[in-house]
């Protein structure tokens, strides 16, 4: 009886606590809010039309281009950007390199939110989203589909990342015993999460294996899954650097008192990892280039475009990373990370949209509605991210 009373009082405490935390904090009229709130409102109106009148009412999708910006950017690129989460948990929990422990929480949070919002954007693109439970509840398992695998892995990986992040939530809600229990699950979740990541990062590439006659031969190869996996490593590392730069500026009061030298060491370490991965990735591309005798294809527009991607946005940022590490230049690391991220966007969009049906007369261009909804997804994610980091112990507790 005493126990129930304790639970009841604890419960009311937690409810009151949540209610307090839900209230907004800080100034309202920040530049970010001024831009993002109208975008989110317009995005919601667009989504109303999308769900009432169909995809065709707001998107430029066609019978020739069944997948557009919402898949090519939100899902395929967004998931690659979220790769940092599995790379960092590998380094910290499997390799046990403590140097990067202080960025684990924020990276996992970023990864979790990226999956919820970007993989969640998949639902907006589905024609019949209410059937999304079909491959999960088991009345129709399409084992033979790569997408079946990818969707299951999205789901399981989100759970794994939620488990990895849950100790922070428990700490915030001041549930010490729950936190201890959840902390005990971390290594298992990490190992499971890395395995799932290897498979679905490459699986996103494998989605395009059957589109062989439709993707320009410079971007199609049987090794797309491997290329997608390797590039997700440096995409994730670059995203951590990029995101860390912004966080350090915006949430300075939360991170405050941080040892700058240590932060610098972390960034340079990540840059080193990115440089090596990009170097390997570049040679994978070169190997495939030779294996498929692609030199015949290099002399037209698509050949130049391919060189822009592989030389300009892989090899160049790779050398920039290396030079920056050697000369301890954080500024150059940031430039290199932005270029590497642009290279990832370029690569993923080339495979899924730009070089997809390169021969088509009516090419696909995203409509303004598609762009607004994409921005809405990004902005909403930032809102949630900001809400969490200003309340939960994400940055502190190094």
């Amino acid at each position: 009886m005493n126990a129930t009373a304790v639970i009841a009082s604890e419960f009311t405490r937690v409810v009151k606590f949540f209610w307090q935390e839900l209230k907004p904090r800080g100034k309202w009229l920040t530049p970010f809010n001024v831009i993002s709130i109208p975008v989110i409102v317009v995005g919601l109106i667009i989504l109303y039309f999308r769900f009432v009148y169909g995809l065709g009412s707001v998107t430029n999708l066609s019978q020739e281009f069944p997948w557009g910006l919402w898949i090519g950017f939100d899902v395929v690129t967004g998931v690659a950007f979220a790769g940092g989460s599995y790379v960092i948990t590998f380094v910290v929990y499997v390799m046990r390199i403590e140097k990067y422990h202080s960025i684990v929480r924020v990276t996992v949070l970023n990864g979790l939110l990226a999956y919820i919002f970007y993989a969640g954007a998949l639902v907006l693109d589905l024609g019949r989203p209410w059937h999304i439970i079909n491959p999960i509840i088991g009345n129709s398992f399409g084992y033979n589909s790569v997408l079946f695998l990818v969707s299951w892995h999205f789901l399981l990986y989100m759970i794994a990342m939620a488990v990895e992040f849950s100790p922070v939530v428990a700490e915030w809600a001041q549930l010490e015993r729950v936190r201890k229990f959840l902390s005990g699950l971390t290594l298992a979740a990490v190992i499971f999460g890395i395995t799932l990541s290897i498979l679905h990062q490459s699986g996103l590439g494998a989605l395009f294996l059957m589109a062989k006659p439709k993707i320009h031969p410079l971007w199609y190869s049987e090794f797309i899954p491997i290329l997608f996996f390797v590039s997700s490593v440096y995409a994730g590392l670059s995203m951590i650097i990029f995101e860390g730069t912004i966080s350090h500026r915006v949430f300075r009061n939360l991170i405050g008192g941080h040892d700058h030298h240590r932060y610098e060491e972390i960034v340079l370490g990540l840059a080193k990892g990115a440089a090596i991965t990009m170097f390997v990735y570049y040679f994978f591309q070169a190997l495939i280039f030779i294996h498929e005798e692609r030199w015949q294809l290099i002399t037209d527009f698509w050949g130049y475009w391919y060189l822009v991607e592989v030389l300009g946005f892989v090899l160049v940022p790779c050398f920039m990373f290396a030079y920056a590490v050697r000369n301890r230049s954080l500024g150059l690391v940031k430039v290199a990370s932005v270029m590497a991220l642009l290279g990832i966007i370029l690569n993923r969009l080339n495979v899924s949209v730009i070089a997809f049906r390169w021969y088509a007369v009516n090419k696909y261009y995203p409509s303004w509605e598609e762009i607004v909804v994409t921005l809405m997804v990004v902005f909403t994610e930032i809102w949630v991210f900001r809400w969490i980091v200003t309340r939960m112990p994400v940055f502190s507790k190094a």
Binding site: F51, V52, Y53, G54, L55, G56, S57, L61, S62, Q63, E64, P66, W67, V94, M95, R96, I97, E98, K99, L122, L126, G127, R128, P129, H131, I132, N134, P135, N139, S140, F141, G142, N144, S145, V146, L147, F148, L149, S151, L187, V190, I191, F192, I194, T195, I198, L199, S202, G203, A206, L207, F208, L209, M210, A211, K212, P213, K214, E222, P225
Partner: protein, 295 residues
């Protein structure tokens, strides 16, 4: 358990196994896939098949007499599952009917994560709206670009020829075959159709190009085409290869369980190897390193 009884059971089970297997093998072969042979040299472009298809399947019925649709090359759409196109070639006008090829190993079926696209035992590839989630991966995967989505509906369907599966089950032929006035379309099992097609090519070697489109393309399909001119001149892709499209994802899908078995064990092992809990003491004794200094 009694030892003798055990041996007896084992022997019976062992004896039963091969019998079951041969039974399975023989039943497998009795159900052959069906298809349609399209002899484009016979087609006059009357488009009766378009009308019959749309009537049978409740789609948009074109006004064949006055819509001048043959003036331009059309694709099948979410409103019409089959269209006839006119190609101006060196051997005059050639009319070609276009619809789902009903592949032997369809890419759309391998792509579908909910089994909404389904290869029936009789051969037609059908679509089930109760399962489909509208991801359009089938459209991305199909080498012939056949599945079409209804973009302007809140509840879009994936539209494609079903080879009139319901009519086949009732013992009838596909609607287009029944409607064809010139015997351009011939319905039957692929084995029979291949024999007929080869016979026509051999008996008129100058009339036909010596290729039966659909025999090997993308692993072979239920619909077969004969032509008097090269197939790339009448709207067919000749660069699709002969590999069944699901084969392209086979390597990846086979490696999935391997990675799911192997990698967690590998990671756990790595994690144990990298564990420095016990190292700290040793280093302290030796007195020349502190944990983490080497990073």
């Amino acid at each position: 358990m009694d030892r003798r009884l055990f041996l007896k059971t084992a022997a019976t089970a062992g004896a039963a196994l091969p019998i079951r297997n041969t039974v399975a093998a023989s039943t497998k072969e009795t159900r052959e896939f069906v298809g349609v042979l399209v002899d484009t040299t016979r087609c006059i472009g009357c488009r009766s098949c378009e009308v019959a298809c749309s009537v049978a399947n409740g789609n948009f019925v074109p006004d064949v007499n006055s819509d001048n649709a043959l003036e331009k090359i059309r694709d099948t759409s979410d409103k019409q599952w089959t269209v006839v196109n006119r190609f101006k070639t060196g051997k005059g006008d050639v009319f070609v009917k276009r619809q789902c090829m009903h592949c032997w190993q369809p890419a759309c079926v391998a792509a579908c994560l909910v089994n909404a696209m389904y290869k029936t035992r009789e051969g037609p590839v059908t679509w089930n709206g109760d399962k489909c989630m509208g991801c359009r991966f089938c459209m991305v995967s199909c080498p012939f670009d056949i599945p079409k989505a209804e973009y302007h509906s809140w509840n879009p369907r994936i539209m494609k020829c079903s080879m009139c599966y319901e009519r086949l089950q009732a013992g009838k032929k596909p609607a287009c075959v029944d409607a064809c006035p010139t015997d351009t379309l011939m319905f039957g099992s692929k084995r029979e159709l291949m024999e007929v097609a080869r016979h026509r090519v051999y008996s008129h070697p100058d009339k036909y190009v010596h290729q039966i489109y659909g025999e090997h393309e993308a692993g072979g399909s239920g619909w077969l085409y004969l032509s008097s001119v090269a197939f790339d001149q009448i709207g067919f892709r000749t660069d699709l290869g002969t590999t069944p499209y699901p084969e392209y994802t086979k390597q990846f899908l086979v490696s999935v369980p391997l990675i799911l078995f192997g990698v967690p064990a590998l990671l756990l092992g790595l994690s144990e190897l990298a564990d420095r809990k016990n190292e700290v003491h040793e280093d302290k004794d030796k007195g020349w390193t502190t944990p983490g200094a080497d990073q």
